[in-house]
Amino acid sequence: LGGPENYESGSATNYITRNKARKKLQLSLADFRRLCILKGIYPHEPKHKKKVNKGSTAPRTFYLLKDIRFLMHEPIVGKFREYKIFVRKLRKAYGKAEWTSVGRLKENKPSYKLDHVIKERYPSFVDALRDLDDALSMCFLFSTFARTGKCHVQTIQLCRRLTVEWMNYIVTSRSLRKVFLSIKGIYYQAEVLGQTVTWLVPYQFAHDHPTDVDYRVMATFTEMYTTLFGFVNFRLYQTLNLVYPPKLDCRSEVDLKGEFEEDYAMDSESYLEKLSALSASLARVLNTAEEEEAQIDQFPVEGVDLEQMEAREREQKDQDAHKRLFEDLKFFLNREVPRESLAFVLRCFGAQVSWDKSHCIGSTYDVTDETITHHIVDRPSVDKQYINRYYVQPQWVYDSINCKMLLPVEDYFLGVNLPPHLSPFVEEKDGDYVPPEKLKLMALQRGEKPVAEQEEEEEEEEEEEEDDEEEEEEMDEEEMKEEESLKTIEKQRAQNKVSSVKVTPGKMKTENKVRMEQEEKAEEKRLAIMMMKKKEKYLYDKIMFGKKRTVREANKLAAKRKAHDEASKGEKRKKKTKQ
């Protein structure tokens, strides 16, 4: 009786249901969940569910048996059990009001470390970097939580510390590449040791804590992420020869020493805040190590495609230029702009930043400084304006970074209707819809000069006229001829009203050769498609359906844009006529 119905071999033995796994590990569901989160174990979808489910079709989650066996050797499982016992003892001691034993038990509270788990999950540092996205987003979210009962205060503080360290690293290594202001928050993308890391930071508001979210799950994830994040930070600081935990440069430390610092906050707190101000550079292990410029060594390799080398070099140059985008510029942030984000972003590209002294710790110069080049304001007007600086809206900074060049400031002056903020993460393939603003930016990048707006308008009008003309021209010659013939007939009729049967000369049907060819080809294709095999036809239909859908969507967007442009143009004209 070794039939397949016994489910004693094959895929039935490779999988295990969640409940069975839990029983095997002798853990409660919550502990099992925590273990799975910490160890990164996830369910698997077997190919033949019914076989694995031993003939039943009930919906179940399956884990790989190997995974569960792997979990059995985990020392944390033992710690979970110890903790369970500890809680039981503590409850008993409380119940008996034995305060000494309560104290003693608390002193010996079992705790576990996740170092080995991190090392196991990410055997190499690059692996850890690759998986840093979620860790970053989570820590940034937790660092913005209020110190309410949603999670431990220590966790929030740790998250804040780690995120500040991370931002400082990004500033010092100048590895930020893209920023995007979305309605959800601010997306940042950095290139750290060759890995692109993207994270999302919520806007600075108090959170409306939802009730249908299990914070225990989030807290477990954060526990794991903070451990990972700390180790990553340590390593990253090491690579830059920076002191970890980060310390301010002695020079800047002196600079930042405020007059009334003692009143401000406790020393440890103010230090973290000074770090989070991001306005000063960090201390290095070796003070002499100024950044050396890494030159690409030229290796004479046989059969090298020189073009590739050149392209790489050019790319490197572009990147260097991008890193120094805001160098030699001095910024001042007004108090209504998001200070942390802007300070972080600007410092990443080499700018000097300051803000009002009463706004935040760590300001380095005043509003009155004459050397300020850009003043970032997010209100319709400013009372006192200095002549020798630009007053721009914050979007200018972000757009310039994404565009990898300093955009003309005119579009971003105070009270000006801002141009749309585009996502730098979208890479259009041919056939996709590209918004006209993006085309304009691309033209700017290529070095084409932007045309002044008024001229543009005029041009547009001219263009329209031209278009009309063209359209007229385009009117088919045939039609013209027809019209002519009609006219002659009408004339004749007018001349002698008596209708007479007449033979009009027949027209040659001109054959459009190109069109004929195209049609022929299309028909050939149609006929060939008819002969496709069923399987391939299905696949082909699916691909073509997807293609058509993208085209349809692109067309829809284009049509919407056109309608919008026309509507706005009409409004403009109306205004003009009114004036």
């Binding site: 180790f231 997010d378 993460f425």
Partner: protein, 712 residues
């Protein structure tokens, strides 16, 4: 009768702190309470006892009223207050009219002349009150002490407050202590301070137990020692000295695989945001009103965007995203709850999927354009047939007529009204015979259209009329009759009356045999083969094998094809046996055609399929083509050219190149070459029959729109 707890404090000389309390038990009659008559004594007795002493300033008033002579019952509860008042209470029994009723609501005595009892148990009568309002007013005006006169509730007497009492009231009103002499801000003397004093606070000698070791402590220590010994209490753990963070990847093993196993699937990253997520997106990405409505009505799982794109004029105006924590949480759930699976994405160029076919141009000739339309029928044309010479076309329609057309001109040469919807027409393939078989209702008529060569026409007539009755008449399933007179003039030569409705007629290539199909499920007489020259009818099958759809003769060899719903059976007519059974892989065969070579058969079916059988290859179809969108009604092979055509309800005729090679190893080549359209779809019916011209690469089609069309 009620039990009353009376508590009386007898003042001692000196008015010391410690007093004595005496308890007297009295039994005195009380008037019943107005509302609660059955009130038990114990209910108000404890209230008396628990009354706090010395806190009721009113009590003090009562006490000292009348310089201590007129003490009320109240004073009994306020010993301290009395003491503080400095009341030197000589209790004179004669003037003591203290009420003994206790702390009861005095309303109970409202309707009685007395207000209670004195110490001797005698009634205290209410003082006579005969003052009316006016007297009261006058008293108020005249009496200088009116303001300090208070009515004693317990006795009902008016009491004038003394100066001290008024003072006391004022002090209490100001929130001061009742006792004038009490100093609240006196410096505090700290007796039990931290400083050791020379003298003990008390003179008590030290206890013995302070010199000998404590037994209890010994017990406790013993317990702890035992617990440590047994391992129940663990000593404090040493502090972990390793730093929180260190270089974890100091010894990195580049070859280390993940601790788990090789099947690890890394979690996919979050999707990066597009333009529509911007706080200030281009206007085309904002949703219009209808789109917004549609978005709101969709289920959250079905939405393409999880948020509504919005535009804010400046960064300052952007609010917090309300679903931020939700989204993060969902990501967490995805990470640890979602089953992961590696999915292979096919990355093919769709052009590569299209099979490489020979160009239709190279496969010419084939019909490409519609060149003639034969109009005349008023109803759908079910069947058409071309004369073997290629000059004439016959069509049978549901309007009950058979029309003969000249192919080249499109002229209708002749119309024969047969008086019934014509199901099938077939021109005799023998060029030396001019006969057309027409099937309608239950009969088949052989017509001589008298078109073309007169010699042939007359020869045909002669052939039909030369029949001689056999000597012994055999019983036949079909009645043969030779019409005369009018019908003969109209062209009718022979009538074959069948027992059931005839659906199809088809000739053998020699032109002598004629097969008819009378479809009927249970009957064994579904196929009949007639021999015209001998006017004989055979029923080749003894048993029915299903509903026969159509039949066909093999062009050269004595084989007979019978198509039932799902199968095509090939019978050997000489051996009288089933030689092959082809499985059509379709639901319902509608039509069938045999290749002139005889080794290939095509079948059209109502489920849009055209199946090509290679009889040498297998009984399964060599190819199934699903070109048509709707049911196929007719299929046909060309006699000479490698072409075949199929007509369908979608109104199109598809002409395919179907090359059959003499080499047995080479499979037939099938290439669709042209889709011909022209027929209008009426009543969901398009093309009903197709047939090729015998010599030219032309195809005829008849349609439900009452036309016959020629494509060349």
């Amino acid at each position: 009768m009620m039990v009353l707890w009376r508590v009386v404090r007898l003042p001692r000389n000196g008015g010391g702190v410690a007093g004595r309390w005496f308890f007297f038990f009295f039994f005195l009659p009380h008037p019943p309470p107005p509302s609660r008559r059955l009130r038990s004594p114990s209910q108000h007795a404890p209230a008396q006892r628990s009354r706090p002493a010395g806190l009721n300033p009113c009590a003090g008033l009562n006490k000292s009223s009348g310089g201590g002579e007129a003490a009320s019952a109240c004073e009994r509860w306020q010993p301290d207050a009395l003491a503080q008042m400095g009341w030197q209470g000589e209790m004179t029994s004669d003037c003591d009219i203290r009420n003994t009723v206790g702390n009861i609501p005095m309303e109970w005595y409202q309707d009685y002349p007395h207000v209670g009892y004195d110490l001797d148990g005698k009634k205290i009568f209410k003082p006579i009150r005969n003052k009316d309002e006016l007297d009261e007013f006058l008293d108020k005006m005249d009496n200088p002490d009116y303001w300090r006169t208070v009515r004693d509730k317990m006795t009902g007497a008016d009491v004038r407050l003394s100066d001290e009492q008024v003072d006391l009231v004022h002090r209490l009103q100001r929130g001061q202590f009742g006792d004038i002499n009490f100093k609240e801000y006196e410096p505090y003397i700290d007796f039990f301070s931290s400083e050791t004093m020379i003298h003990p606070v008390t003179n008590r000698p030290q206890d013995k137990r302070s010199f000998i070791p404590s037994l209890i402590e010994k017990q406790k220590v013993g317990k702890l020692v035992h617990a440590i010994k047994m391992g129940w209490i663990k000593p404090r753990k040493p502090r972990d000295t390793t730093p929180q963070y260190y270089d974890l990847w100091a010894q990195e093993d580049p070859n280390a695989i993940l601790g788990r196993h090789k099947m690890h699937v890394p979690a996919p990253k979050m999707r990066l945001p597009g333009h529509e997520e911007s706080y200030n997106p281009p206007p085309e990405y904002l949703l219009s009103e209808e789109e917004k409505l549609a978005w709101e009505q969709q289920d959250p799982e079905d939405r393409k965007l999880s948020f509504l794109p919005q535009r804010f004029s400046c960064l300052r105006a952007v609010p917090a995203f309300s679903r931020f924590i939700h989204e993060r949480f969902e990501r967490c759930l995805d990470l640890y709850l979602c089953p992961r699976q590696r999915k292979m994405r096919v990355n093919v160029n769709p052009e590569d999927l299209i099979p490489k076919m020979p160009k239709p141009k190279d496969l010419q000739p084939f019909p490409t354009t519609q060149s003639l339309v034969y109009r005349g029928h008023t109803s759908l044309v079910r069947s058409i047939s071309v004369s073997p010479t290629g000059q004439w076309l016959v069509s049978g329609s549901d309007d009950g007529t058979v029309r003969f057309w000249e192919i080249g001109t499109g002229r209708c040469m002749k119309t024969v009204d047969v008086g019934g919807a014509v199901k099938s027409v077939a021109w005799n393939p023998n060029p030396s015979i001019c006969l057309v078989a027409v099937a309608f209702n239950e009969s088949v008529v052989l017509l001589n259209p008298a078109l073309g060569d007169r010699l042939v026409v007359s020869a045909t007539d002669q052939l039909v009329s030369s029949y001689e009755e056999p000597e012994e008449a055999r019983e036949q399933p079909v009645q043969w009759a030779a019409p005369a007179g009018k019908e003969h003039d109209a062209g009718h030569r022979l009538h074959l009356a069948h027992p059931k409705a005839v659906r199809q007629v088809t000739w053998h290539s020699k032109g002598d045999y004629l097969a008819c199909v009378t479809p009927d499920g249970g009957s064994h007489q579904q196929v009949l083969i007639h021999q015209v020259s001998k006017r004989r009818t055979q029923n080749p099958f003894r048993r029915s094998k299903g509903l026969v759809q159509c039949v066909s003769f093999h062009p050269t060899r004595p084989f007979f094809f019978v198509a039932t719903q799902r199968h095509v059976r090939v019978y050997n007519l000489i051996k009288q046996e089933l030689s092959k059974k082809l499985q059509a892989n379709c639901k319902w065969i509608s039509s069938m055609a045999v290749h002139p070579g005889g080794d290939n058969v095509i079948c059209g079916s109502y489920d849009c399929r055209l199946t090509w059988f290679d009889l040498d290859l297998a009984t399964k179809p060599y190819k199934v083509l699903r070109h048509h969108k709707k049911a196929l009604r007719g299929v046909a092979y060309h006699k000479h050219y490698p072409l075949f055509a199929s007509g369908s309800d979608d109104g199109s005729v598809i002409v395919c190149h179907g090359m059959v090679y003499n080499d047995l190893l080479q499979n037939p080549l099938i290439v669709p070459v042209k889709v011909l359209k022209g027929h209008a779809i009426t009543h969901d019916l398009g093309v009903l029959d197709v047939t090729f011209h015998p010599s030219q690469p032309w195809v005829f089609s008849s349609g439900a729109d009452g036309t016959v069309r020629l494509f060349t």
